[in-house]
Symmetry: C2
């Protein structure tokens, strides 16, 4: 089980500083959509340059213009890029094709994907499927809980994202995700390093038990 | 009827040069998603700075993190910003709230929106609803045709986008859109100025007839 640090709502400089602080306790580093839309591909280049040994995930949230967007971020240094599961199938297929050409990976964001759509896109077995509780739903008075995915296909590889905290981490583990994506529970912590170490150690421990 | 020039897959410099060439024949100027993801908010700032008299549309394609993303682009100078219709309702509601605060507008991109979702989001009557054929669907061997929207609610304001050409322009008009979004039919034309003039004149003429 890998820990993916999601860097959002930060300057590139602060994102790098945070990444350096928790470097030994995270596996993958995500350039959040907010960084990409604020600073463009410079954010991906800067993070890859600062962390050449990490997998850099560009949270592109592509929903159209797939070839162009995926080439853009892979050329900038991304190792993994995200596409929306609600995108047209051709868009997701294109993303996987570009990724294969660059020897990179695709993460499909399951935000708002319904059961029928999930069935259709679960044919893209080479992708990582990200169960995702959106920031906006977290911040609203929502009753939705993570760790209880609507759809499960044991043959697929999963990531989980969205407001995961020290408290909710154990409920996430029942999903046996390959990747657990943690943002503010590390970046907004008074002590990011010890927060990252907590998740990292938990992931290693539970990974051994599984 | 307004002509919105969509600037995509261009450097900021080339986008400005193109905008200057067709300035008198376009009403709104869209900073395409590809520019935003490649150059960040600098693209919005640069276009607003170059075209202060035009409405600048930031094609953010927001699907989460609504408050942050919409504040980002309005602060950068956007007059209109886009949110995906497939986003959670709370996301769209937030976008409209931020837009109201900044006295700006919201365009809801109907890409992949189904009938049930359309019914739900058509309560957001202050938004502009964009019937959108995606680039990826245009480029695939798709039979889908624009100008024949699945859902229509006469009380809403519409934009139309996606591969609109001189040939297909008249079929678009039956939808009586408020905004017609033209990209490559102008930007990839051998003579962008005369292409823009064609659409501009057609929009004026048909607008008068309606």
């Amino acid at each position: 089980m890998k820990i993916q640090l999601a860097l959002d709502r930060l300057s590139i400089q602060n994102a790098i500083a945070l990444g350096e602080e928790v470097r030994e306790y995270v596996d993958w580093i995500e350039v959040g959509t907010s960084l990409i839309k604020e600073y463009g591909m410079e954010s991906v280049r800067a993070l890859k340059n600062a962390f050449p040994e990490k997998k850099i995930v560009a949270d592109m949230k592509t929903i159209d213009n797939s070839n162009y967007e995926f080439e853009l971020c892979f050329k900038a240094g991304a190792d993994v890029a995200t596409v929306m599961g609600v995108a047209p199938s051709i868009t997701i297929a294109n993303c996987l094709e570009v990724a294969a050409t660059y020897n990179k990976e695709v993460m499909i964001d399951l935000l708002q994907v319904n059961e029928q759509q999930f069935k259709e896109i679960s044919t893209f077995t080479k992708a990582i499927f990200c169960q995702h509780l959106s920031k906006d739903l977290q911040e609203s008075a929502s009753e939705i809980s993570l760790g209880n995915p609507l759809y499960k296909n044991e043959e697929l590889t999963y990531a989980v994202a969205g407001g995961i905290s020290a408290d909710s981490f154990s409920t996430i583990l029942v999903m046996k995700p390959e990747v657990v994506i943690i943002g503010s529970a590390i970046t907004q912590s008074a002590n990011p390093k010890s927060a990252a170490k907590f998740f990292y150690d938990m992931a290693r421990k539970k990974g051994d038990e599984a």
